[in-house]
Symmetry: C2
Subunit: 638 residues, 2 copies
């Protein structure tokens, strides 16, 4: 239990917001069933159908109304790509049941540097998932409540904060919260697709009147470049497909099999929704609107259900919700990857510390902060964020598939030939798409990722070099047997007067070694003389050194005195350890922290840089004072 | 010298921005001549003439153009008040040569609580001086460059930052920087007054055409309430008069005499400028403008010199400059008062620490932060800030004069009778003005000060109670003679593995006491067994305790183990001191601080709350490793 009133209040607040602490034994219960896993890990991929169609339409309308018809072919091409990628990832799930996705696959099969490139791309991908999904979710809200556009940044902040808190509470509850809206979205979206199919079959389709703020048609020719650009835009539908392969260990056993099945179910659902919604949009001549206007899926729902229908509002709500949940995918995946990277020495160690609720708190908070920062910088515009998103995703796909090709070549397990073919096809296709996305969307923002990936890789290599160097420096020879210590010691107690805290510190110093001296730093000779007189009378046997302080500072004169002490040491003898014993007053509340120990704090941080010096903090507590006979009768009980 | 590269770079940067450190001996040279003191301490009072006239006109124009004529009488009444107050303060200078102003006078003569009320009022006054003067300075810039209005908050930030840096550099250079613009302003303002006088004598006056954004005339009757309100507004001219009485010790000897003379010179100058500018404004029918328009003094300068004259621009520049310098008055006075209050135990002790340049850095930085905050909150509008300003000022005046009345009654020195009369007149007059200001400006912002003063007094009493309590708790009986320590000791070293830092920490622990045990916290039994095997082989004679950590945390299990250790101690024996020896890796740069010691840091802060526990930080440095034989041959030289 925390000792201060504020500590206890904070602990209570923590327990209310984040839930009671969990132990490792409770982790098994946190494992996900297929149904829950589909909700958690697939929300990212499935929710892409809420904005992927719109990305295709926005490109093609430059070539006029007729060009929009081509959308369906583009969507089908992307669905085929999805089939190959998802087949490829089924192999990954089975080959790497411990998760880690592109990073593990690329590192083990290709080379560590490819692993780091994949890791950098994945980290960017996760951040962008949060940013894009939140932006798209807010676009859904705007489609129903246009005035929400003005407070989109505030909504983004609130929703990211809520998801962060949910994740700091731990994984299991995430599954419960998130299953309902995912299945609601899938159900309603399938209903829209079905209504569209029926009306196409019954011949009751035709363009609905355009929105007031619809983007005007262009008059460019529909060439190969425009088609590639539309394909690059729509390929954002594939984002999030790799989440399941990264999260295999979160599944209930048999983990690999359950993950692979979930992967297939998800891909089929996504393909149906994406192609179906694209067909619907083309059939009814839906047109993208200027920023702040309704989204294509919202227009589709309105057309299918009618503007006044409760189903329309329900669909808009569930779309917004599943997109927020898609952001949540990253809150599972990013901290896990960061912990793996920290374990491998590529990220600061604190990313592998787990909090009370078995959540990697550092990773969760960092992800939330960066994602909100990007959203804010891009003004919450989905369309502006997407180019940054796709590059990272397809870079991961490519590295992961190429890694798998090497994996099958090296292992040659049963059936390795056809598995190799699947992964090779996936690798080549995704590499081509990567090239298309980078070249077609370079100036739109893809260049940022091209700069960021090497920067992140450099940072990770730098951190790794630091940890390796310190581990090498600290390593002990395996045959070494440590003997008893043989260094001499001396103790220095800096004091500001004579009180119980000082007496306790001096006695702790005498417990360490009999060679103790107190140092009084003063700018006033009269005060110094008075303190010396009192000290010699009350604390006999301990020498007092008075150091005059022309600069009115504490640390400088003390350091100067320690240097003099060092210089006086006989040159032949091995250097002694100097214990600096600093009396401290234990703050019982936040205001006491402001009122006390400001100079002790400064002293400690300065002395940490000094060789052969050990800092000893002696906190003084009244109830703890048994050195001092006068205190025992009056000390309050704890 | 700082040890890390970053430390040295920071020290160089500090020296460049803040100047080289000064020693106490250099302080005498920092004393101010009368000429320099007039520039530094009077800029506040004299610069009030740049906005006081305008405050009178803004009230009276509600009663129509004719009412503006009354301004001159109001200004003369305020000048008479100034004469009384300034005579009163001459007495303060002579009676209290050590400075401290209203706080010291009220505390010594009335009661400590009145001292605290005066101190609170003074602190508010100093903050408001910075805010109001900066806002008024920017209003002068706007009068010449209207577009500056849009970036007034940015200008305010920059100028407060510059003044802060100048003050952190120390007092002497302030004197040099500030003398020139003060005398330039006084010279040019006197020229305007003279030109006005000549034109009145030669009969060549008459209203100039009104500005485009002039405030329209009202049609209220000119009653006593409006007159009082005008008087309350114009009384802001008296702000800053007390600065000299506070700063007596900064004068060259004879301090009191020099300060009193400077006080008289300043009051005469201020009276001439204030009344003169008011007469000028009335004679030429100058009218205040809407926020963002030219100020009255700028209009006066334009009328006197002509809009194209270089003198007009020079006057605007010097007015802005003297107002910035007025803000500087508080940067001398506020930290001094805070240091006195800290010395008396009414403010946190760190306010009495002086920096390298003999400046009270904490006070300077706090003042800058609060003043900028207020300016920002009030949108940089001088007129809105003034009601807050006057209340504090007149509260100080009243308390100070009443204190002086008691002083003369108690001392009865030669000439005490007429001195008593002066101070009594001053006290009664300022009390009346205080009542007028509070009642007339209550809703305009004076209520804020009415709330703030008791709040600040409460805070100071609270801090004082804290310090008194801890001093009582820590006090030792004067007849106590401290004997040798008699408590038993034991040492606990929490480890995360076996490396040089851990070995060094264990050996430091063994130097403290032979009863050392290492504690290894692990969630993996296999890892624990391996560490135990290595430990027993390499560090024989030191018991290793393995604590399993179901929560994956370090601090919790360690605390639990320490509790077990305490429970096992024989109940009759006096409690031992437990030394917790924490190995640390010395960070050589800012990124190393992020990469290392995160868990050591957390452990230390948690253990500080534990009774009978002393935390020992053992920093590991390769070059310092003489415990470890293998290191000596390869250790890099410093």
């Amino acid at each position: 239990m925390p000792r201060t009133a504020r500590g206890r209040a904070l602990a209570r607040l923590r327990a209310t917001v984040f839930g009671r602490p969990l132990s490792n034994e409770e982790e098994m219960e946190e494992r996900l069933s297929k149904r829950k896993a589909l909700a958690i890990f697939s929300s990212d991929a499935i929710s892409s159908s809420a904005y992927a169609t719109e990305e295709i339409l926005r490109v093609l309308l430059i070539a006029g109304a007729g060009a929009l018809l081509v959308s369906v072919q583009v969507a089908i091409a992307i669905a085929l790509l999805l089939a190959v990628v998802s087949l490829s990832y089924r192999q990954v799930c089975r080959a790497y049941p411990n998760g880690g996705g592109a990073y593990i696959v690329a590192r083990t099969n290709l080379a560590p540097i490819y692993g780091l490139i994949a890791a950098a791309a994945l980290l960017i991908d996760y951040v962008m998932t949060v940013a894009v999904s939140t932006a798209a979710a807010i676009a859904q809200i705007q489609s129903v409540i246009p005035r929400a556009y003005d407070i989109r940044i505030e909504i983004a902040f609130l929703s990211i904060a809520l998801i962060t808190i949910a994740n700091l509470r731990g994984l299991r509850e995430s599954g419960n919260i998130f299953a309902v809206p995912t299945y609601l979205f899938v159900g309603l979206a399938l209903a829209i697709v079905a209504i569209g199919a029926i009306r196409i079959v019954t011949g009751t389709v035709g363009p609905i009147p355009a929105e007031r703020d619809a983007v005007p048609f262009g008059s460019e020719t529909l060439g190969i470049l425009l088609l590639l650009k539309a394909f690059a835009g729509g390929s954002v539908a594939l984002t999030g497909v790799e989440a399941i392969a990264n999260g295999v260990p979160a599944f209930k056993p048999p983990e690999a099999r359950n993950a692979a099945d979930t992967m297939t179910a998800m891909s089929i659902l996504l393909a149906i929704l994406f192609v179906g919604l694209t067909v619907f949009a083309v059939a009814f001549g839906l047109r993208p609107t200027a920023e702040g206007g309704p989204s294509i899926v919202a227009l589709a729902a309105r057309t299918a259900f009618g503007a006044a229908s409760p189903l329309f509002y329900m669909f808009a709500a569930s779309t917004a919700l599943i997109l927020f949940l898609a952001a949540n995918t990253s809150f599972n995946a990013f901290p896990r990857l960061a912990a793996i990277l920290a374990g491998d020495g590529y990220m600061p160690r604190q990313f592998s510390f787990r909090g009370d609720r078995l959540a990697y708190s550092w990773g969760i908070v960092l992800l939330a902060a960066i994602a909100f920062g990007i959203l804010w910088a891009f003004g919450g515009d989905t369309h502006a964020l997407i180019p940054l998103y796709s590059v990272g995703v397809f870079l991961c796909f490519t590295l992961s598939q190429l890694g798998m090709v090497k994996h099958w070549l090296a292992g040659r397990e049963t059936g390795w030939r056809w598995r190799l073919v699947v992964n090779a096809a996936g690798g080549v296709l995704t590499a081509v798409v990567l090239a298309i996305v980078v070249s077609e969307k370079f100036v739109d923002g893809a260049y940022l990722v091209v700069i960021l990936v090497p920067t992140l890789v450099g940072m990770m290599l730098f951190i790794n070099r630091q940890y390796s160097r310190s581990a090498r420096e600290l390593a002990v020879k395996p045959d070494l047997v440590v003997g008893r210590p043989h260094r001499e010691e001396r103790v220095v107690v800096p004091i500001t007067g004579i009180n119980r805290a000082v007496i306790q510190a001096i006695n702790v110093g005498r417990s360490i070694d009999p060679d103790v001296r107190a140092v009084f730093i003063s700018e006033d000779p009269d005060e110094a003389a008075a303190v010396r007189k009192q000290f010699e009378r009350q604390i006999p046997g301990v020498p007092l050194v008075v150091v005059s302080s022309p600069y009115r500072a504490l640390a400088g004169p003390l350091l100067a005195y320690l240097d003099v002490l060092d210089a006086a040491w006989p040159p032949g003898k091995s250097h002694p350890i100097t214990f600096i014993v600093i009396p401290e007053y234990v703050a019982r509340s936040w205001w006491e922290r402001l009122l006390y120990n400001q100079s002790a704090k400064r002293l400690r941080s300065i002395l940490l840089g000094r060789p052969h010096t050990v800092v000893v903090n002696v906190p003084y507590r009244r109830e703890d004072d048994i050195e001092h006979p006068a205190a025992e009768d009056t000390a309050p009980k704890e």
